[in-house]
């Protein structure tokens, strides 16, 4: 296999990273190019790094006449080789060795990058290269984002990275928990970020689990009935009419199947983290927020055997979050399918 370090553009990138990472690795490991990224799936700054690596590869590929795009698999290999992701406590060299005879779909660094790339796609920073499976290219927004430097969120002149990302997030049409792979490409009908903010604005707070059964379950936000159902479900949960297991059942997530429950639970984590890093939300302890009045409500909501324990923190909408929501809520979502007939 081609060693990405032999490619000059990647060599420079790797040299920069290695300078800072040269001593990382556990005691037994001979591979010193390992690092473990800090919360890569929920840190927007990590996505910017990944995108820059993908852009470097895209430029190299264009210069080499291989097309103005990047391969997901190649970028995943580069990120792994220059120390961009690894399983905690296991040297990448050994992990890669384990995966040597596996299919691509079973190589964890590739599947991890695919998930990250999918989020980049939802945000409009990369798009598919037509006619090439697993090949993508940076959109004009993606090319603009990689120009930002330094700590997230930074500024380029008067251009604010935070405003830039909020705009992308507000337009992000993401699949709900029940959407199938066919819907991922163009028939998105749920501005999940906006709808999450809408749910939070109802009482001013939301927990991760509540987000699963509301904004993340919404199939088509253009359907008023579904929007009402979402709000109704949240209200019934908080009034004590249903408990969390009932809410999961209503969303057709079998509460007895752990992967189904935890998989759905992981979804909002990323978006809620994005919201917090952009200053749209802040976290507060349930025992402290609103003089602890919520504690009993959540105790009742989770007073049943369930895969997920009672929440300890709530996400509260900030003044800035309310302002953004006010600006955005009058915009009507238009799906591509509306142009058919």
């Amino acid at each position: 296999m081609l060693n990405q370090r032999d490619i000059p553009e990647h060599k420079n990138l790797a040299a920069k990273l290695e300078k800072n990472w040269e001593h990382i690795g556990n005691q037994k490991s001979q591979n010193k190019d390992i690092f473990w990224p800090g919360k890569p799936k929920s840190e927007l700054s990590e996505y910017r790094k990944y995108l820059l690596i993908a852009y470097t590869e895209q430029k190299r590929s264009a210069q080499a006449g291989e097309g103005d795009c990047f391969s997901e698999n190649v970028v995943a290999e580069i990120i792994a080789q220059i120390g961009g992701m690894n399983r905690p406590g296991v040297s990448f060299g050994k992990t890669a060795e384990q995966y040597k005879n596996e299919t691509t779909a079973n190589k964890s660094h590739i599947t991890s990058f695919r998930m990250s790339n999918r989020i980049l796609k939802f945000l409009g920073f990369v798009c598919r290269e037509r006619g090439k499976s697993n090949y993508y290219k940076l959109t004009s927004y993606g090319k603009q984002w990689v120009k930002f430097q330094g700590e997230f969120p930074s500024k380029m002149g008067i251009l604010s990275e935070s405003d830039f990302i909020v705009e992308r997030l507000m337009n992000a049409n993401v699949f709900g928990v029940h959407d199938t792979i066919q819907t991922w490409d163009y028939r998105f009908r749920n501005r999940i970020f906006l709808n999450l903010m809408r749910c939070i604005n109802i009482n001013g707070y939301i927990t991760n689990t509540e987000a699963v059964v509301t904004a993340f379950h919404l199939h088509d936000e253009r359907c008023p009935e579904q929007m009402n159902q979402m709000i109704d479900r949240l209200n019934r949960l908080r009034n004590g009419e249903i408990n969390i297991v009932d809410a999961y059942r209503e969303c057709n997530i079998d509460p007895r199947i752990k992967p189904a429950v935890t998989g759905a639970y992981d979804g909002p984590k990323v978006l809620l983290s994005f919201c917090r890093s952009l200053g749209l939300l802040k976290e507060d302890n349930i025992t402290e927020y609103n003089n602890g009045k919520l504690k009993d409500m959540y105790k009742k909501m989770f007073a049943i055997r369930f895969q997920i324990s009672e929440p300890k923190v709530v996400n509260i909408i900030t003044t800035y979050g309310k302002k953004i929501l006010e600006q955005e809520k009058t915009r009507r979502l238009v799906g591509f399918d509306e142009l058919y007939f």
Binding site: K39, G124, R130, T139, N171, Y340
Partner: protein, 438 residues
């Protein structure tokens, strides 16, 4: 069912209408869309279009995004047509975004010029790649220095703790400590012109002015000023006021060490799997266990963690464990930790100094004023002392400093010793700030 070309035309037209504020000219549209009437009729059924004379505009706000709503199969065609319609390039290059630079009319360079890559705000921009230290580019520990919506550098003075890092980093001496907070000195509107430039011009002008202003003169502080700065920092970061937690406190320790000429990293952030909260890599290696005011004082556990941090740092750096130092730094020193450090020394020969933030800030202040430190001087902090750095140890450290620099017996030595007495001789628990007002 519509044909693919119809879908492409409608999508491009709808995107252009939603982007365009003043609307589009129908006669111009005809050049790109021969059957514009058909498409306008179609869109008119679904969206609120306003047609006035030759102008067509969208009378409602919609969310229809080029990259998030259009299928990838037809995206290039839609994008091409959309760009023609709104006649704009993909997106402006952020490097060309206008930035402000302030040019003094009389050549005076002691106020903020609004530098490119401002050193008061960010360390080397390449540090964005620093994966060990996710806050590598941060200069202000609490990230209080930002560029405002007008493109001007501002400090949130209400939260400033007076750690002096930005004061030291400004090449134009435009940041000073006034009433215990960092303040930016500004040109009056008559004394300077504000110019809009792009990034490369801003960098060029900044570099020229840096050369012009030359080396920054050292600022000499009186013992009263130093004590006030130390007390102020202790008080503001304490539990009673801002209750600094890991990120700002550890970054502050890292930055003081960096400003002292050492290569330090904040390695203790979540997900980094490192025991050492702050690591000094070069010119000598130290694994530091830090305790922020929000956590606790340096306790017995912290001393043991410091020793663990040393072992782990040695393995990371591929060094012999004896070549790596350990230290514990915090806002206060808890009960029993001094005894623990002493017993580790007496029984196992391990040297673990316990420093307060106050001691480190004092050394930093001396470094940037009248007693510049070399790495050899600083190494003694980690190699020659164990247990809590109290007044006597601080004096001993500076005695060694004067001896190494052949400055023994000079007036500055007497002055420094008096200053140390003045700054560190108060009751131990009070000087840390956390308890002084309780």
């Amino acid at each position: 069912m519509s044909s693919i070309s119809d879908l492409i035309d409608r999508a491009a037209l709808l995107l252009a209408l939603s982007e365009s504020k003043s609307g589009l000219s129908l006669s111009e549209l005809k050049k790109t869309f021969p059957d514009i009437d058909k498409q306008i009729k179609f869109l008119g059924k679904k969206f609120k279009l306003r047609i006035e004379g030759d102008n067509v505009s969208l009378d409602e706000k919609i969310c229809f995004d080029l990259y998030q709503s259009i299928p990838s199969d037809i995206l290039p065609e839609v994008e091409d047509k959309f760009r023609i319609l709104i006649s704009q390039p993909a997106l402006s290059d952020p490097d060309d975004e206008p930035r402000k630079i302030i040019i003094s009319k009389d050549g005076n360079l002691t106020s903020c010029i609004n530098c490119a890559d401002p050193p008061c705000m960010t360390y080397n921009k390449d540090e964005v790649f620093n994966a060990v230290d996710s806050l590598a580019s941060r200069v202000c520990p609490d990230n209080l220095i930002q560029i405002d919506s007008d493109g001007i550098i501002q400090i949130d003075e209400s939260k400033c703790t007076g750690c002096m890092i930005c004061v030291n980093r400004c090449p134009f001496s435009a940041i000073t400590l006034v009433n215990d907070v960092a303040k930016i000195s500004r040109f009056t509107s008559t004394a300077a012109d504000v110019k809009d430039v792009n990034l490369s011009e801003q960098r060029k002008i900044t570099d020229e002015l840096k050369v012009k202003v030359g080396d920054k003169p050292s600022q000499i502080y009186s013992k009263e000023d130093i004590k006030k700065t130390l007390d102020n920092f202790d008080k503001k970061v304490s539990k009673l006021e801002q209750n600094w937690d890991q990120d700002p406190y550890y970054v502050c320790i890292r930055n003081w060490l960096n400003e002292l000429g050492l290569e330090a990293k904040y390695t203790g952030s979540p997900g980094k799997l490192r025991v050492a909260d702050v690591t000094i890599d070069s010119p000598f290696a130290v694994g530091i266990e830090a305790k922020s005011p929000a956590e606790s004082d340096v306790d017995i556990g912290a001393i043991r963690q410091a020793d663990h941090a040393r072992r782990q740092t040695a393995s990371f750096l591929d060094k012999n464990i004896n070549d790596v130092y350990a230290a514990a730094i915090g806002q206060g020193v808890g009960r029993g930790s001094n005894n623990e450090a002493q017993s580790l020394h007496d029984q196992e020969g391990k040297i673990i100094p316990i420093m307060t933030g106050r001691v480190l800030l004092y050394i930093f202040l001396k470094h940037i004023s009248d007693l510049p430190m070399t790495p050899q001087d600083l190494e003694k902090l980690f190699s020659d002392f164990y247990g809590e750095m109290t007044l006597e140890e601080i004096k001993e450290f500076f005695t060694e400093y004067f001896s190494a620099h052949n400055m023994e017996g000079q007036q500055i030595e007497t002055k420094t010793m008096e200053e140390i007495d003045y700054c560190f001789s108060t009751n131990g628990r009070q000087q840390r700030g956390s308890y002084s007002n309780s």
